[in-house]
Amino acid sequence: MRKDTVKLISAEGFEFVIDKRAAMVSQTIRNMLTSPGIFAETQLGEVRFPEISTTILEKICQYFYWSLQYASGKETEFHIEPELTLELMMAANYLHT
C-alpha cells in the first residue's frame, strides 16, 4: 500500500494519504513526485503545503477522486461550498489542477 500512495500535509499538520494516481491529477504534485533528482518529496512520498488549510486540502483530495471517477465515465457534479471557493480557487491555481 505504501508504494502507490502519497501523503499530503496541510498547514495545520493534518496528513492526507491518497493514491498516487489521484495525486497525479495535479500537475504541480505530479512534477514534484516525478522530477528527476533527490527531493524530499520523491524520497518520502509526502508533500507539505504550508499555505493550504486543512479544509481546503480535504476538498482538493475529494476533487482528485472525483476527477478519476469522471474520467472513468461516471459523470457527477462536484459541489463546492461558496465559502470555500475563493481559497479553493487559489489553491487550485497553485496546484495546477
Binding site: 482538493i60 476533487y63 474520467a71 463546492i80 461558496p82 480557487m89 491555481n93 489542477t97
Partner: protein, 816 residues
Amino acid sequence: MRALRSRVIPSSSAETPIKKSEQSTEIDTAAPASDGVEVVGTPSQSSVPAPDSGAPRSASVMPQPRRSLRLASAASRRGGGASAEGLPLPLKSCPWKGVGSGEGASPCEGEKVEAFTLGRRGGMSDRQNIGKRKLEDDASLIDSKGSKSLRSRKSVTKRAAHSDAENLVNAFDIEENQWIMLSKITDLDGGDTENREKGSCNDEVGSFRSRKILRREDKGKDKIGDNEVIGLGAESSGSKPGGIGDQPKYGAEEIGKAKIVCDNMLSDCSSVIDLDMEINNLRQKSESIGQEFLNVAVAQRKSHRVKAVGESSSSDIIRRNFRNIARRSASRFAHFNPDDEGGNNSQVKAERNASAAPRPADPEPEDWPGPFSTAMKIIRDRGTNVSTLQSNSFFNKWKSPIIWAPRRDRHTQAKRLIPSLLELCLNVLAANANAITSLDGVPDMPRHKLSQLLCDSRKMNKHFFDLLVGGSPTEIRVKDSSWLTEEELSESFKRCDTRNIMVLQLDQCGRCLPDYAISSISCSASCFPALSTISITGACRLTDDGLATLISSAPSLRSINISQCSLLTASSIVTLANKVGSLLRELYIDDCQSIDAMLILPALKRLENLQVLSVAGISSVSDDFVVEFVAQLGHNLRELVLSDCTNLTDASIKTIAEVCPGLLALNLVNLTKLTDSAVGYLANGCQALEKLILCRNTFSDEGIAAFLEASGELLQELSLNNVKKVSTDTAISLAKKSRKLQSLDLSWCRNMTDEAFGLIVDSCSCLKELKVFGCTQITDTFLNGHSNAEVKIVGLKMAPLLEHCRVLIPDNPLKY
C-alpha cells in the same frame, strides 16, 4: 516515330500506352484535322504545352464558329485522348503528355506531314480517348474511336483512358461552352482509321486532315469542322515568356483538364487563358510540366496570352512553336524515366527554365525563384505524381488523394473533458460574485479570468469593480466597461492606489471616459508611474486633449490601444511620439476613422522601437503608407495587422517581406487585391511567421500550400477562413510542415474533404483548436475517426456556440 512513341509510352504507368497513342494522336490529329477538331490537349496530360504553340495558330485562322477545344489534360494524363491536341497541338501537347509531345514536336519542324502520318497511326487510340472526352463532339467520333480502339494498338488501354478523358471533359464541359473536345483531334489522328470509320476517306482523309491541320496552322485556311483544335488552349494557358515558356505553363496548368481550344485564336486566346487560369485553380494536381512557372503564370498569363495572340498570326510562329515543342520534348525523351514522373517533369521544367528567364529548379533562395517557387514545383510534382499513379477517372483526381483512415477506437475522447478545479471554482465565484468580500491575495490570472467571466455574462458591476481596483492592484482588466458610468469610475479610482498598476484595460469605455473624466482617473501628472500597457478601446468621447492628459500621466507607457476612438486625430499620434516616442512598443489604432494614415506617417516614423502596429479598418492606409512605414521601422516589427485596408496590393506585401525578416504575426483579412505573388513574397521573406490570419483572400490552393512548404514550420496560428480555394494540397503541406500549429481556422473551405481534415488533425499533434464554420462537407468519418485527443473542433452544428470567442488572457503586459 513509332520508336519515339514507344519511348514515350513507358513514362506513364498505365498511361504509357495511352500516351503513346496520345502522342500519336496528336500527330495524327495534326494531320487529319479534318473535322476541325482541334485536339488540343490530352486531358490528362499537361497538354497545354504542346497545344500552346500550335493551337493558336490554327485557331486564329479558322473563321468557323469558335469552338474551343478542350485539352483534356486529364486524358492526356491517362494517356488517353490527349491526342486531340490537334494538328498543331500534337506537337505542343507532347510536352505535357510527358512524352508524346516531344515526339510530335520534333517532326513538326519540318516534317509536318510525317508527323501527321505518325499521328494517324498512333493517334488512333488517342483519338478514341479523345473522342470520349469531347463534349460536343458527335457521338460518331466516339464510336469511331471505339472502333478505332480495335484497330489501334492500345485499344484497351485507350478505352480506359477514354472514359477518363470523357470524365475529364465532362467535368469541364460546364466550364466552357466554347471548349471543344480534343476528341475531335483524335478523330483527326485516327484520320486514317477513324475517319474511315466515320466514313470519311481513309488515308486520304488523313492526309486531308493533315493538310487541313497544316492549313489551320497557317491560320485558318481551313476550318475543319466546328471544332478546331487550337493549340491555343495550351498556348493561352501556359503563355510563358517566349513561345517555349508558354508551353510549360500550359502544361502544368492544363493538367487534368481538358483544354479548350478556341477556334478563333485571337479572341479565344484570352478567354481560354482565363479559363485556364480558373481551371488551374480548380485543378489540384496536375502533371507539372511547367510547374515552376506557375507562380508567374498567374501574373503573367495575360502577357503571355498577348504574346500568343501576336504570334499566332503567322506560320512562322507555328513552326517556331513546333520547334520549341520539339526542343522541349527532346529533352524529355532523352531522359525519360518511366518511374519518375516528377523527375520527368522537372527535367522538362529544367529545360523550360533554361528557355525562360528564372531557374526555379534551384532550391537556393534566389530573387525570384526562391523557396516559394521551389515549393510550388514540389506541389505540382506531387500532384503530377499522384495523378499519374491514379489511373482512375478524372473525378478521382479531384477527390482527395490523401490517404487517411479514421481510427476505430475512440477511447481517448473523455479524458480532456474533465473540468479542472480552477474552472469549477471560477464558475461558482462568478455565480456568487456579489458575495465576495475581497480579492486580496488572489493572483492576477484568476482575477482576470473572473473578470472575463463576469463581463461575458453581463454580471459585472461596481461591486466587483471595486474589488478589482481596491487595494494596490498590479493589473486591472475589464474587457467590457459599458456598464460603468463616469461617477462610478471616479469613485472607484479614488480608492485606488495606482502606484503599482502596470496594466489597465477598460475596453468599451465610451460611456465613462469623456475628456473631463480623465482627470478622475489620473489625479495628477505621472500618477501611473508603472503603467506600461493601457487599453481604452471604444472611448468615443475622448478627444486629443484628453488623451494627451492621459499620456502625460503615464510616462513609461509602452503599449497603447486606442481602437475605435473615433474622435482622435493625427495629433494624438504626434503627442504619443512626443511623449513616449522611443518607449512605445505597441500601437493599436483600429477603426480610428479620423486618423489619416499619411498624416501620421512622420510621427509613426519616430516610434523607433515599435513592434506591433495595428491599423485595421483605416481606409486611408495605402501601399505608399505601408512601404514608407515599413522601410523605416520594418526591422523591429513583430506584428502587423492590416485587415480591412482594402487598398493594399501585392506591392506592400513585397516590401514587407523584404524589410521585415522578424515578422511574427501578420493579419491580411479582407485584402482581396492580393494575389498568389503576395504569398510568394511572404514565403520567401518572412520565414519566421508564427501567426498568419487570412480571410476572404483570393489565394490559390497551390499558393498557400507552397507557402506552408517554404515557411510554414513555425506557424502556430493559421487562419484560412473563407480562402475558398484551399484544398488537398494545402492539407498535405499542413500535415507535413506545420507541426507546431495550435490553432487552425478552415471555416468555409468547402474543398477540404474529410480525409484532408483527418490528415491535418492527426499530423498536427499540437493542434488545440480547429474552426470549421460553414464546412458542411464534414461528416462523422472525420469527427469520430480522428485520433487527436486534444483538439477542439468548433463550428459545427450541435456544438457549443461562442466557444471560439473566448479570448486568451495575455500573460504579460507586452506581447513580445
